[in-house]
Assembly symmetry: C2
Homo-oligomer: 462 residues x 2
């Protein structure tokens, strides 16, 4: 199988699987054919008669990439919350509280972020980018650090590498941070505006095809309420409005954070109400966690078009609660999935997907009566996890019409997954060798070794 796409139109034939909604998986019953234009757009998808369609295309000179019997083409993963600036300590520090003097922020996050500058950041960000791509992440909503020069290194690295598509924020924070890693309000606003303008310019310079989502775009990124003055928040809201810019922050993550923020902003009924008052709940914007919501807070986010990032791994540790994802989606809120590195330990969306399934089970715990109802209300299967990791993430970032599934008119951001190797076992005469079984084996036990190719905008990047 030649995985490198040729110049011009090409097509892929095989198990082309996506999960456009909860409870829906397409492409498992028979082979499909996806036709990709030279500009990286999906021209057409043939879910019936794919083999015949492939034959006619080949007859007309179009190259058809034929996937193996145990291969799957799935949409690229979309990581809705990831701190690239915390890559150096990924996998450690999470057994501590978030806010204590020797806690996660003080002992790990702030030192790791403040160590990044124009000289040191490139190595860390290139590693983050490699890890994301190697694990099939083709789009991410990314956190840099509070330093402008370091955060610009991320933009450079993405442009150089050709992915993942990144909404990237220089972090803003002007109080309750360590000496030497805190901004003045004025500097924070000036650096944020410079970052917004330069990042937009970097993407404009790429000359992407019309209709393509950006390769890099800025996100206004107040760290969270406790580290931002009202003046900073108001200024960031004005910048978001002025530059029509995506906004991200953390919201209602942990009990200690909530207590602190409500003591700092006593005039608001909830964290969301405070963000809204400063103009920071916009369409599109996204808040990470949203676990300990006040009554009416989810509705307020919905009303402002603000999405949520479900970060199941880190929520087990810091939030000590699971987001009721299915209920939020039914309410109409857009919910994507995030690794939350380094509050989450793994850069692999596959791990987040698995933990989203586990988290959905905890909402069915400890209530022997009415189990069936709880299952209907909360359960997420592993293929629902695939939906969260793809289309739901695209929806949450405002790219639902151009990313997240295999449909004509969308961009071809995709991963070739192989159900083979030491971690996905296969036996002669095995009882679990249907395509849906192989897909589940990948969803539960696959890792970066099973990812044979990654495409962004039709171009192969892994």
């Amino acid at each position: 199988m030649a995985l490198s796409p040729p110049a011009g139109t090409y097509a892929v034939l095989g198990h082309i699987v996506d999960a456009p909604q909860l409870d829906v998986v397409r492409g498992l019953d028979e082979p499909s054919l996806v036709v990709v234009s030279g500009s990286g757009e999906i021209e057409s998808v043939h879910r019936a008669g794919a083999a015949d369609a492939a034959a006619s295309l080949e007859a007309s000179g179009v190259t058809v990439i034929r996937l193996g019997q145990r291969d799957f083409l799935v949409p690229g993963f979309i990581d809705c919350h990831v701190h690239a600036s915390q890559w150096a300590y990924m996998g450690t520090g999470i057994d501590r509280p978030l806010m204590a003097d020797d806690g996660f922020l003080a002992k790990y996050a702030f030192p790791a972020e403040s160590a990044l500058n124009a000289q040191t950041a490139g190595e860390v960000y290139r590693a983050a980018i490699d890890d994301m791509l190697r694990n099939g992440t083709t789009t991410a909503l990314v956190w840099g650090s509070a330093r402008l020069d370091a955060s610009e290194e991320y933009v450079k690295a993405v442009v150089e590498r050709g992915g993942p598509r990144s909404l990237i924020g220089k972090v803003s924070m002007d109080r309750h941070c360590p000496e030497g890693y805190v901004e003045t309000t004025a500097q924070s606003l000036a650096d944020t505006e410079a970052f917004v303008l330069r990042t937009k310019a970097a993407n404009d310079a790429l000359g992407l095809p019309a209709g393509s989502p950006p390769l890099v775009a800025p996100a206004i990124t107040p760290r969270f309420l406790p580290t931002c003055t009202a003046e900073l928040l108001r200024g960031l809201g004005a910048l978001a409005e002025k530059h029509d810019c995506f906004v991200q922050s953390h919201l209602s993550e942990s009990c200690d954070e909530l207590a602190f923020s409500s003591s700092l902003f006593p005039g608001f009924r909830s964290d969301a109400a405070a963000f809204a008052a400063f103009g920071l709940l916009r369409r599109p914007s996204l808040m990470a966690h949203c676990v300990h919501l006040q009554p009416g807070e989810a509705e307020l986010l919905l009303q402002h078009g603000c999405a949520m990032a479900h970060c199941p791994t880190s929520n087990f540790f810091f939030a000590k609660e699971a987001l009721p994802v299915r209920q939020m989606l039914q309410l109409g809120v857009k919910v994507g999935l995030g690794t939350d590195v380094a509050g989450g330990y793994s850069p692999a969306m596959l791990v987040s997907l698995r933990h989203a399934v586990l988290a959905s089970k905890t909402l069915q715990f400890r209530r022997a009566k009415g189990c069936a109802t709880l299952r209907d209300r909360h359960n997420l299967s592993h293929t629902d996890g695939l939906h969260l990791a793809t289309q739901a993430g695209a929806d949450a970032l405002g790219f639902g019409g151009s990313l997240g599934s295999f449909d004509a008119g969308k961009r071809f951001d995709a991963v070739v997954w192989a159900a083979e190797g030491p971690n996905v076992r296969c036996y002669r005469g095995g009882v679990a060798e249907e395509p849906s079984d192989l897909l589940h084996k990948l969803l539960t036990n696959g890792d970066d070794r099973n990812i044979k190719a990654v495409y962004i905008g039709g171009r192969r990047v892994v």
Copy 2:
């Protein structure tokens, strides 16, 4: 570094880390030296002055294996609940209920197990053994199938491969199983006794050093109460007594199973009371899951010397509850950790260890008041997970004095772990490069790629 041990006494110098109790990790502060005899016993452990001790040993002609700066020697993992007979469908089927007509047992477990015979079982069991060893499992409490000939293939494969040390059961079940995969009571008892005798003989033929735990040993294995008549259970209890044999089964796993078993055995106050009445709670014995216990049931298990296998992965799916591990250990019950393949999807104890940490967090959910108390009562850190995966498992299987930690007089069952490679990142000037950070990076993000060597009884097997 030469990892293959020479004949005769040898020693290992470096980060030699173990977790002999909850909340205790040894060997992180400075290098240690472990000296291994030619028969695979740990002769001595030097936790201070290790470098000097190594130099004198070398001067006297003893080979010293020097671990790398980013290597760790940890005790081999002990998997207290694993169905080797279900390897073919590992990673799929778990989004179904346990007991329904198209549930986990009927659609996956029974077909997979009944497909095993003297011709087909070897391939599956060799794969299971390879996967366990590759993932650092050096001892396991294993389930075969209900067929004698197939289960004997597991014994042969372990003897051939030299590990993992296995307590292995031919499953007994004489009702409520599919036609063609159910035993008569008499046949089940006869085959079980034959399996016990032949497996003991297989181990005796190995001529292991005095004091060594077995490489293979039989376990009496009634599937669970719903598939066993009282006559079968009574007969198995008598066999356990007659041959002084380990007993394992499933206990109080899921609500549907509990309802079924209490309808079949209405005379008993709990599943444990039924097992006890039939002579199947013995010292040593082990019950998997034990999640939905009746009042007094844990105390009954403790009184009979019966251990528990905590199976966090599968418990999220089928039990929909977490075992309060710390509380059970404080009560005095021995609790080991199990992958529960294929109710659990991963053969890697590292994944079970991570899920044990996540499960411990769920016991701290939804109770904003008194968080600190809940943390004290329930929290398991990743190094506590290492304890569960090693010493606690040895204790649960009755091998606590000879396996599970690095102490003089124990067997040298060990894993060399390297904090390197694409999944355990390292940076120049990183903020998280202390030995404890590297260990945590392995505990959270490591996989079989990080396992450089595995030793059983001093002999290298991977």
